[in-house]
């Protein structure tokens, strides 16, 4: 019986679109790396995707309610792991994000913690019975996400720490935040900003934000990346330069084209039409996810799926926005397209969670 559930109710349409985007990603990764020292990355990405699909199916097997019951333990483990990263993590490009595992793999803890936070927020708000959110709730969920956020920020990884915020924001929105509370939070944020600016942010992070406001006038390296990204995108024109023919990327002007700036590489090679197609696919994925939220069996399910929506939307907004200069450079990947095992595994596990909810929608 449960087998039957699994195959028929599964969201194949969603999986299809996701795999389509992933395929575009693999193609672009190939183009970005085949002549560099990263050659072969596209093969590794395929392995990650296959592993991700397996994990996705695995995630659907355990009822999400059971998962939510285990949230306290999972949360504790997450905090411990994040702390461990700060102590034993390997420094790559100046920040500790990875815990080395046997077999040469490493494990970016912060990506997986996102899943835990989605479940935690879902659990918190599904247990509540009021129709509106109280200040106390705000504080509690704030801390719930804030503590991991802080630990991640210390790595330092500003970008990933920020991705925890939309989960809370989505949860709070759905649970029914009062307008005056929104105003209160906004006020607090505005007051905290100068403090955060001076004490919280590292110089290069500050530089990224200043160059975001004025990239062309800035001789620092931070502005260089965005400038090159815009040049690459613009160079794509209407139809694009063709696969493997994006010169800005091929000649090395576009930095990290197979990870953070993959969409710029894609835009250079496939032009405006390519970009529209890719954006359309992402849009359809998001809409489909929302549909799954609307057909969720219970409150918790809604929060879970919408949490995934929030994270994905945030990633797309910030990453693609960065590529065209609408957002500051924050170093977060574009899910399904950027090269990176942890990111791929996260998104598939998140999709697993979504299917987990979907598969149980007719269960009493």
């Amino acid at each position: 019986m449960s087998n039957f559930l699994r195959y028929k109710g599964f969201d194949w349409f969603l999986l299809g679109m996701v795999l389509l985007i992933a395929a575009l990603g693999v193609m672009e990764i190939y183009s970005a790396t085949y002549r560099t020292k990263f050659a072969g990355a596209h093969e590794k990405q395929i392995y990650w995707i296959l592993a991700g699909i397996m994990l996705m199916f695995l995630m659907t097997m355990i009822d999400y309610h059971t998962l939510m019951e285990q949230v306290p333990i999972m949360y504790l483990v997450s905090i411990v792991l994040l702390a461990m990263v700060l102590v034993v993590g390997r420094k790559v490009f100046g920040s500790r994000r990875w815990i080395p595992l046997a077999g040469g793999f490493h494990f970016q803890v912060s990506e997986f913690v996102k899943l835990v936070i989605i479940l935690a927020v879902a659990r918190y708000f599904s247990e509540a019975r009021q129709s509106k959110v109280a200040v106390g709730d705000l504080v509690k969920v704030g801390l719930l996400a804030g503590v991991p956020m802080g630990l991640v920020l210390l790595q330092p990884d500003l970008g990933t720490s920020l991705t925890y915020a939309p989960i809370v924001m989505m949860g709070v929105l759905l649970a029914g935040i009062r307008l005056k509370h929104v105003a209160l939070v906004a006020l607090l944020a505005a007051l905290a900003m100068p403090m955060a600016w001076h004490y919280g942010l590292k110089p290069y992070q500050k530089a990224r934000l200043t160059t975001f406001l004025n990239p062309e006038g800035d001789p620092l390296k931070a502005g260089y990346q965005v400038l090159q990204s815009k040049i690459a995108v613009g160079h794509g024109g209407l139809w694009g330069r063709g696969t493997t023919k994006g010169t800005q990327m091929q000649l090395g002007f576009l930095p990290v084209p197979h990870t953070d700036f993959i969409f710029a590489a894609f835009a250079e090679e496939h032009g405006f039409f390519g970009v529209l197609a890719a954006l359309l696919l992402y849009f359809m994925v998001l809409m489909r996810l929302v549909h799954n939220a609307q057909t969720a069996p219970d409150r918790a399910g809604v929060f879970i799926v919408m949490g995934v929506v929030g994270v994905l939307l945030f990633h797309v907004l910030v990453n693609v926005g960065m590529v065209i200069g609408y957002m500051p450079t924050t170093g977060i990947p574009l899910p399904l397209m950027s090269y990176g095992g942890s990111s791929v595994l996260f998104i598939f596990m998140a999709l697993g969670l979504v299917n987990n909810v979907r598969l149980r929608r007719f269960v009493n």
């Binding site: 009822d63 759905l174 260089y224 040049i231 160079h235 219970d298």
Partner: protein
């Protein structure tokens, strides 16, 4: 089927309607975000494509080397012998190949470089990454630089960079010891010694420049910048500063080197001056010499041909590479061996009548009419051949060769210069090995006075005599101070000692004999006498061709080579000087050259107190 659901107390479905408006809000928000993003792409790709396309085409990354200055070479007192001077080199940037090939004729004409040379260089560097520029002209003139600046727009492949060029002393001063630098050749790149360098690297090719190349060379840095089509830097990408080469301090004393060079003016041969107590080489000259500055700027093939085909071999460092018969200087070795063995004593005497017969052949003494009855001491002083024919015969070739080799013959001294030769010490074993022939007793007689197949280098001569006079302590000659290069050469034992202990009597007799050569009446080395200085020495005249031939062919080329080696003081000398005066005919004509060098040394020594001189000589720097 599923675990009890404590999260819902509500009937299915109704629980989720709570957020339907909010979810709808999120949907519209998403739509809005995507439209925003799409607009952004529109602006970049459709509205303003040319702006960014242009930037894309103009984007170039320029990589310029920051060339590391090579370490200077200074003498033991810190006086500069070799330094660098700034000059400009013209570089060719190779990223835009099509444009570059089109512009080659213009570049060739404007910079006065034959186009074949440019093409050849491009071919040579074809394997190197394209963003690395190549040097096409060194020591660019102001006209070249002006041409470059004037054509910045239409010839953007050209760039200039300031480099430090090697400046050697004029007139070939110390040219052989120092050596010269040049571009590393393709065959050298295959050699493990040079494997770490890239084509175009300037490395030491001979002498100390080669021996200590890794210390002198430093490491080039690099500067990468993004430039627009006008070659103006738009953005600095990275800069790795150059590591300057380390300075090399030599044991050479500039004053002694100068004295030796001046004394050898107009003559061919070599001078080696060293301090047997430490092994430090104080001067080393080889003539004829050449101007290494010609190598520092790229030498023309014509000049190179002239140097290589010159019958006098100016590129040869005679001090360590000329292997010639030592003539009578060998008698010092003969006497030492004889005394050690007990075959000779101070009382040993022979009757010299101007020659003697051995094995059916008459061997002459240089003194027509002979020396009469002569004992060991006077035999050394007057360099009696007959005495030493007998000495050699009684010692026997095997023992003679044994002592000669242990005193340093037929072995490299181990000086820190490339291509040292080891000379020859004939013996029955040697002859069997080299010619598969047996030894003839008559050959011992020629060998006994340093003729025949015996061959020695000037460095060996100074080393051997210095060691004998020091009682059998032979210190390895070296040109840099071990303490200075300890970090780079931790294993090298630059000044290691080899001991072949000699009896005190032996040393006394031999050195007294040498003192007599210089200071007693009838001594062949009187021209080396210095008032107030205890100098001992030995002359030598080595046959280049047989006497019969010289009688027939009157050529200066066939005149004997003249040797003189001097030591001061005679026992445990502080300085030993060996001079080879090619075709100088008589050893006493080489003696004044030795005198010059020792006098310079001694005058200097007298001018300063022992402490001051030690300080100047850097002795306190030694461990």
């Amino acid at each position: 089927m599923s675990s009890p659901n404590r999260f819902t107390g509500y009937p299915e479905g109704s629980d989720t309607k709570f957020a339907q408006y909010k979810i709808a809000f999120v949907q519209y928000l998403t739509l809005g975000i995507f439209l925003l993003l799409a607009t952004g792409f529109w602006r970049l790709q459709i509205q303003n494509p040319d702006y960014y396309s242009e930037l894309a085409e103009q984007n170039r990354v320029k990589s310029l080397p920051l060339l590391a200055p090579r370490g200077r070479i200074i003498d033991r007192e810190g006086r500069v012998i070799v330094s660098n001077y700034p000059s400009f080199s013209i570089l060719l940037l190779r990223e835009q190949t099509r444009q570059l090939l089109q512009n080659l004729p213009a570049i060739s004409q404007g910079l006065d470089i034959p186009i074949e040379e440019l093409q050849g260089r491009l071919r040579r560097f074809a394997r190197e990454p394209k963003y690395e520029p190549i040097i096409i002209k060194e020591d660019a003139t102001s006209a070249d630089l002006a041409f470059l600046e004037a054509h910045r727009d239409d010839l953007p492949e050209l760039e200039h960079v300031m480099v430090q060029r090697r400046l050697y002393a004029r007139n070939g001063f110390a040219a052989h010891v120092i050596g010269y630098v040049g571009e590393v050749s393709d065959s050298e790149l295959n050699n493990p010694e040079f494997a770490q360098y890239n084509p175009g690297a300037i490395v030491g090719k001979s002498g100390l420049e080669r021996q200590y190349n890794d210390i002198l060379m430093g490491q080039d840095g690099m500067r990468r910048a993004m430039v627009n089509s006008r070659g103006r830097e738009v953005q600095k990408l990275e800069e790795k500063p150059a590591t300057a080469g380390k300075q090399l301090r030599l044991t050479i004393d500039l004053d002694l080197q100068t004295a030796a060079e001046v004394a050898m003016d107009g003559k061919n041969g070599a001078v080696v001056a060293l301090n047997p107590h430490t092994g430090e080489v104080l001067a080393m000259v080889s003539r004829p010499t050449y101007d290494p500055n010609k190598f520092a700027v790229r030498i023309t093939s014509q000049e190179w041909k002239e140097l290589v085909e010159n019958p006098d071999y100016p590129l040869l460092n005679r001090a360590i590479q000329a292997q010639l018969a030592p003539g009578s200087v060998f008698k010092v070795i003969n006497a030492t061996g004889g005394l050690e063995e007990g075959v000779l004593t101070p009382e040993t005497a022979v009757s010299c009548a101007g020659g003697a017969t051995f094995y059916g052949r008459y061997f002459k003494c240089w003194q027509k009419g002979g020396h009469g009855r002569i004992a060991l001491h006077r035999a050394i002083v007057q360099s009696c051949d007959v005495f030493f024919y007998n000495a050699g015969q009684h010692l026997g070739i095997d023992k003679l060769a044994y002592y000669a080799e242990h005193l340093g013959m037929a072995h490299k001294t181990g000086i820190d210069l490339p291509h040292e030769e080891e000379g020859v010490m004939p013996s029955p074993e040697w002859k069997r090995r080299m010619f598969r022939d047996k030894w003839y007793a008559g050959e011992t007689i020629s060998v006994a006075i340093g003729q025949g197949s015996v061959a020695i280098t000037p460095l060996q001569m100074a080393y051997i005599v210095g060691g004998i006079a020091s009682g059998g302590e032979f210190r390895r000659p070296h040109l840099v101070f071990p303490a200075d290069v300890r970090a780079e050469r931790p294993e090298a034992k630059l000044d290691e000692v080899r001991r072949f202990p000699l009896k005190d009597d032996t040393v006394e007799q031999v050195t007294l004999g040498m003192w007599g050569v210089v200071n007693e009446g009838g001594g062949t080395g009187g021209r080396a006498r210095i008032q107030g200085v205890d100098v001992g020495g030995k002359t030598g005249s080595a046959q280049v061709a047989s006497l019969e031939l010289t009688r027939v062919v009157r050529s200066s080329q066939l005149k004997d080579n003249a040797w003189f080696v001097g030591a001061a003081p005679r026992r445990n000398p502080e300085i030993v000087v060996a001079v080879l005066f090619e075709h100088g005919e008589h050893g006493y004509l080489a003696a004044p050259i030795v005198r010059e060098v020792i006098k310079t040394y001694w005058d200097k020594r007298a001018r300063f107190s022992r402490q001051e001189y030690a300080r100047l000589a850097g002795e306190e720097n030694r461990p």
